[in-house]
């Protein structure tokens, strides 16, 4: 049970940051994860008055306020057009619409959960985390950092060229993923390159970048080799949702399929 002694609606980011420096203070995102734990919070800090619940399009890409909900991501036309629907695919299996109307991008990224579809997706994109005191940090670095008492203000997604795809495997609908995977085909100078983000390993999402450059459509043999390389490179572990061996097998299959879907002769 979550016990809260004081609730404070932050008036500014400085106010939120200052309040958050005290032990016993906690920033509230959608509160869904926080509520699962048993703890007493001295001051719960609410950022919902700071106009951070929106996605703004910028010349470079998108700026996603930390209080933006997963449902807003799911329905966002610009982000979904850019990612070929990968954004929607990544979040639409998370519990239910009522849940996604509450869960926030800020809480999802700050939490750095191993199982996170949101982190897996964002890692495949050119994403940065804007911290109030810490400035802009590439997501790939943020995911390996220890938690501190900063405030996550926004997630920045830069519009870099690529074709995207998202797939997850779940034991049952709305459960945590057994494995999550986001793939990008990036146009390079003399061909295309593949980048893969894999989460729910069950550890935090990591990136695998294929050295090979594909000239022309990706063949079945190339795709299989990519799958094999990804499975060998990405460490997996076991938990009650699946064994390390099963997860490595899934990586091999999903990576090969992604390569064909994104770059095979039949791609649309």
């Amino acid at each position: 049970m979550l016990t809260i002694q004081n609730y404070k609606k932050a008036e500014s980011l400085e106010d939120a940051w200052t309040l958050n420096q005290r032990r016993g203070s906690v920033i509230l995102g959608g509160m869904l994860w926080l509520k699962m734990g048993k703890r007493t919070v001295q001051t719960a800090i609410d950022l919902s008055g700071l106009r951070l619940d929106r996605i703004e399009e910028t010349p470079e890409g998108w700026s996603i306020g930390c209080m933006t909900t997963l449902r807003q991501l799911e329905l966002h036309k610009g982000l979904n057009a850019y990612t070929n629907g990968a954004v929607r695919e990544a979040v639409r299996h998370i519990v239910g619409v009522q849940f996604r109307n509450l869960a926030t991008v800020g809480g999802s990224v700050w939490g750095r959960f191993g199982f996170s579809d949101v982190c897996t997706l964002l890692l495949a994109l050119d994403s940065y985390v804007e911290l109030y005191k810490g400035g802009n940090v590439p997501l790939v670095d943020f995911l390996t950092r220890e938690k501190d008492r900063d405030v996550l203000v926004r997630v920045i997604v830069k519009r870099t060229p690529g074709t995207f795809l998202y797939r997850s495997v779940r034991g049952s609908q709305t459960d945590f993923p057994v494995l999550a995977c986001a793939a990008v085909l990036v146009p390079a100078e003399n061909g295309d390159r593949l980048r893969l983000s894999v989460g729910a390993r069950p550890g935090r999402a990591v990136l695998f970048q294929e050295e090979a450059v594909f000239r022309g459509p990706i063949s079945e043999a190339d795709a299989a080799a990519f799958g094999k390389a990804a499975a060998e490179h990405i460490a997996t572990g076991s938990n009650l949702r699946g064994s390390a061996e099963y997860r490595s097998h899934l990586i091999q299959v999903l990576a090969a399929r992604a390569a064909l879907e994104l770059g095979g002769a039949d791609r649309c």
Binding site: L2, T3, L32, K35, R92, V95, F99, N101, L102, T174
Partner: protein
Amino acid sequence: MLISITLNGKKITSDVSPDALLLDWARAQGCKSVKRGCETANCGLCTVFLDDEPVLSCSVLAVRADGRRVTTLEGLQEEAREFAGFIADQGAEQCGFCNPGFVMNALALFRENPDPSVDEIKEFLAGNLCRCSGYEGQTRGILNYLAWKKARGGEGAAT
């Protein structure tokens, strides 16, 4: 803390503790359709509308609803009764425990998408768990309701 919420069209001011949940607050106002199922944001039974969006009231602080509109099944009686009849006609439920959350979220779906496909229905209602049925009867009930709405010349159930 003093909060003021418009519940089913009526403004209510009350004094709540910082960690009071919207679920308990709504029940304390007599809205007993709002039920506690899992309390871990998994089952959808506690669904209410916050402004016009369906949310899980077991996971929202009452203080966060301050100055906003909350709608429960009690506030949607007419719309709900019409629809619930179609669910009953299919014998779609056994114990009926999941019904209030299910009806709330189905109404949210009809407002957002008056003519959903079966896949869209299943996706939208995925967060409403039913321990008794296999969801088939509920899906049939929804499809029959939408067909009836269409036949009446209405635009689905959108209001």
